[in-house]
Point group: D2
Chain length 311, copies 4
């Protein structure tokens, strides 16, 4: 179970409790506040606080007083203009704070985004629960033969069974031995009253990278979109992409105009190199261009074909 | 006047308007929200948004769900512990956004604090008002003779008069010539219909560093305190220190427990070098220590004497 | 004159002095080391130190020991791949340090690039020379009528003369009054032995934004390219673009393979939104598409036409 | 073995190879360049590049041309002044790049220092060696009973044997199963030609946090000292502190004057709160002060006693 009854009760209590504020309020995000959105087998993402909205982006761009008198339609146009022309600083004026539960190997990729604030559960200070990630059978992918950093077909039959058995057995044994070295059972009671128990900061080194951790993670809207542009991408590892997908939903509830512009001008966009641009211009002018006459390497040519083919 | 009637009306409207939120709300800061706090002759600071409170610092430190059940007294103790032991990351979990009007030479010092988000009024895009900073007579300080980077006594008599005359005349003339080069009067009407008017991005280079600009500035609580530790300090230039002083008031209204700990452990604290520490220990053990026997340089000795003497 | 005889002599001495190092050395950049490259009427850029080269980018990407055995051709391919696919971290492994002399209004744009290290000449501590920027007649542009943030035609005749006269007179007067308020002449001698002289940190506020300052500025290769992508761009103000242009030359001398890839995949590239991409695909498939049937706004349509037209 | 014969040969080759440069050269650091300094059972730190020296700190502080004519003694005084008064920016003008091999649980603490550049070995792309950290018997510490986040006595006898057996067995088994899931033996040959092999990015999740990884890590001198002030501290976990200790040696070889000042004014220094300062002043004035009359909490009192007692 992801959340204990006590935690669930606390969340319900927080959600029931509302106070008046003069700050901008986003009704759609208030609806989501504090609730845990499940990700993977034991993980979640939940919004614990936010600052600003679409109008705050516009306000910063105008460095004006108060909300101004423009129409929503004009605001939307300005947001699209800002994003299209890389005027990124107004998007830094909104902030969001998430509580995330995630496997350590995902946390190791996530933490590479440096422009963010993080407080992680400390396994020097506290004892980790015995929760670890095991891929669902339809995500148990073979190594890609085409791409050293990618996934191929899903494993099947005996090989799949064996992999799942290993992942489950090794993680279970590692956690049981973690408790044995700590000399405490699940309730925190010493197992052997005569033994000392290994320091928590050492015992944890036995745990696998699939172990779940959790953190508070806070970032601004610009850096959130940068994170999403890299992690909601097909090249990102599946296990971080599913977090990014949930965060896209949060983005849409929080700043709908910005989210729409982000999908048009970043997520759904493509960058053409100087050479690729020349090829497109020649083809639009009616010229037949092949890889040989394109000036592009075979790899660049394949990438351009893929983009123009709608992949 | 700092704010136009229209702006003042907008602020009043925003202040009158409250909506329910499930997020943490700080009543003391809500009271201040949107209001302009005057600084210097034409400047101000006003809070336009915030995220989090003292409890959010504690919450991040505990990476717990919701508010937890601890008492305020324990929260205060934990905040003091965190600050004393340089556990800075929980303080990054709160965020504040200010609207500041300030002279350009102050903005140039302020912007050196890089971990912040900024949107400044653009003088490439818009025309600057003719507002500039002139020190009040009791802040018209002479160059310090003891400190190359400090102020001495206040100028008086004819010298003071002459300086004020220069500052006023040169700034007024520069702004009048700015408008002349732009070929627009204060209302934006072309002066000479036949002239083109210099580009705004060029005309502004004639304006003095005393000219007022404004920006939205957003930072987290940890970096706000770092800013204050450097800018609310007696070594900071008076004209930025008065902004820091106003921001200290905002800090107290926002996060009272953190502000108290900050005054005890940072603002009012002193760091003793290895050598200074040895001197203190020897003196506490009853030994008379002079600069010559202290192992400190004359300068380090003077600095230590000043701290122990309560300066 | 930009550099005093003494400074020039020191630079010559530093240039004459070479010592053996085991670190990577870039012959083409060593040639430029310490020399001042003139920019605008009194400014310059000069390289004072660097770390790494094209091979260091590749080395970091491979996290290998030493240089590895790959050919230059493969390194070039890897660098192009990294840049094309936004694998930016290997480019952070090279660092460059510049000494720049620049007008304050340019410094104010430049400093907005936060991921850099800066030490600026302190006008609290020292007295500024009387050097200020005045545009050359062929850069004395009128305000653009099409673009609120751009330049139009060059001013001519009486209007140009008047603008140049204002810029020169106001800056000269401001600097003369700066010295008068400081009560020091150009040699630092007190003018009136009985007067105190205004504090340097106050006197400077009379100086115009055209005044020259200088700083040491250090950044990594990734952030240097980000700077150049924004500041070597036609939308950047001319007076910062000329610095970026000089820095492009430095980039080419330092990391030729990276510079080439940067021109192909960033400077010369264009990003197509989801909607623009759909238009290109339809046109390549032989369909005639107009703004009305494109799904793009008139502004987005014009921007796409400009890119496809080779602007 | 830490380095293969081939790697060792490459390092020797790089060390034998010197070229002339006009840049500042630090003979003492050139001696160390490229050599691996062993840390823990399989780790190392080695310097792969550097920029600047003590004189570069001084140069930035003076924003002067070239080296200037000051004596070393004056430079040392300025460096001490800068560090004592938190003028940190000149220390950002030097840069160092390290190649580090370290256990993943150490890497997870290290990466929290955000102002640095990192390229880590990718276990999505490549296969990890079967090297993992096991504490030496004299570092196999029990959990502290006084400090939830610390270590107590060293484990002994049967409990120690059991812990070492678990750590070795679990890590060995996890790595053997990692290879089994990848379907490759140590040479990269498929074990079962008919099996597909699990994707590398998934197989790695079975490995324990004690597994070694490696990275290139680059930072500036200011941030290096900040890292050391937190990680060469007795409160840091032993396994990261030993890396910090090696880096202190590197610091001394690189910038001796800065390293000396850092030990006096940061590492060996202590900060006294406003309340603690009042106690010291009262005691120096001859007053007997107890915890009850001190105004300090029992905990703050104990911390003050420890500092004054020389702990």
């Amino acid at each position: 179970m992801r959340l204990s009854d006590e935690q669930q009760a606390e969340i319900e209590e927080l959600r029931a409790d509302a106070h008046p504020t003069r700050r901008p309020v986003v009704a759609g995000l208030e609806d989501l506040l504090y609730s845990a959105r499940p990700v993977l087998d034991h993980g979640f993402v939940r919004v614990v606080d936010y600052m600003g909205d679409d109008a705050a982006v516009v306000q910063a761009a105008r460095v004006s007083y108060g909300k101004g008198t423009r129409q929503v339609r004009e605001d939307r146009g300005l947001i699209r203009y800002l994003l299209r022309h890389r005027h990124t600083t107004p998007f830094e004026m909104c902030e969001i704070k998430l509580h995330v539960k995630l496997p350590i190997f995902v946390a190791r990729q996530w933490i590479r985004h440096r422009t963010a604030n993080v407080n992680e559960y400390s396994a020097r200070y506290s004892v980790l629960d015995g929760e670890f990630y095991v891929p669902a059978p339809d995500h148990l992918a073979a190594q890609s033969t085409a791409n050293r950093q990618g996934r191929g077909d899903v494993l099947e039959g005996e090989e799949a069974d064996r992999v799942l058995r290993i992942l489950n057995d090794d993680a279970s044994r590692a956690h049981a031995n973690y408790q044995a070295m700590l000399n405490t059972d699940a309730d925190g009671t010493p197992i052997d009253p005569a033994a000392d128990g290994l320091a928590r900061e050492l015992a944890r080194i036995n745990l696998p990278l699939s172990t779940y951790t959790q953190w508070y993670w806070k970032t601004d809207l610009h850096n959130l979109m940068h994170f999403l542009s890299l992690r909601a991408d097909p090249h990102a590892q599946y296990e971080i992409r599913v977090y990014a997908d949930e965060m896209m939903e949060i983005l849409r509830a929080w700043v709908p105009a910005t989210a729409e512009a982000f999908e048009d001008f970043t997520l759904g966009a493509a960058t053409f190199s100087k050479g690729a641009l020349a090829v497109v211009r020649r083809r639009l002018a009616g010229e037949a261009v092949s890889q040989e006459t394109s000036g592009l390497t075979p790899r660049e040519w394949r990438e351009l074909e893929a983009v123009l083919g709608g992949e």
